[in-house]
Symmetry: C2
DNA sequence: TAGATAATTAAGCGAATGTCTAAATTAAAA
DNA sequence: TTTTAATTTAGACATTCGCTTAATTATCTA
């Protein structure tokens, strides 16, 4: 729990997550998106992985990262308490009688 | 944005939010829930207020705090990208005819 | 007006965080 | 096998964070 909130607390890590919405990317491709050293990005990837917000797949010399549902589900559950409290708008449908 | 993620990063602040689901409480009532000095809680409340996750209402000598929809909506919007990506189950709706 | 109560602001300190460069590991290519 | 490339691990350092105690502000009440 703590690990997940810590993971999404950093703006760079949130950007990495956004970037991975486009699909799986290897560490180098991710690093190239940022004006930051590769070791720093590597460290961010590690924290995201620990939080189970991303998954790592070794592909030969490369490591491919992708979003991991596991961690997001936990955050989603946490958030539900509050969305219920405020009754956030549910999707609207039109009914024909 | 940064402010909100920072706010929910701390476990004490998340507990405060959970506590406020029971309804508005003043600073003293909130502080009494934690084994921590009042100034520390006051500081946490300040950060939550800055993040617009809670609202403060001065009631004479007391200050009453309650959950603020504003900040939660922003987090909700951020999260939507990922819940869409994973196609999280949508809330059930009630149909009125 | 004094004194007591609720709460915040201020100052200080150790621990955690994010960044960097340099070194190590692992796998592909020459 | 030697070299090159992808990535991580290690070590160092400045900044931020969360906590405490002491002081301050604001409000109520006797």
């Amino acid at each position: 729990m703590d690990t997940k909130f810590k993971a999404i607390n950093d703006p760079t890590r949130r950007e990495i997550l956004q970037f991975l919405v486009n699909g799986p990317q290897n560490a180098g491709q991710i690093a190239s998106q940022f004006d930051m050293s590769k070791p720093s990005i590597s460290h961010h990837l590690d924290l995201l992985k620990q939080a189970k917000l991303i998954q790592a797949d070794k592909k030969g010399q490369f490591i491919e990262y992708k979003l991991d549902k596991t961690g997001f589900e936990v955050i989603h559950t946490w958030f539900k308490t509050f969305s219920t409290y405020f009754e956030f708008p549910k999707p609207k449908i039109r009914i024909e009688i």
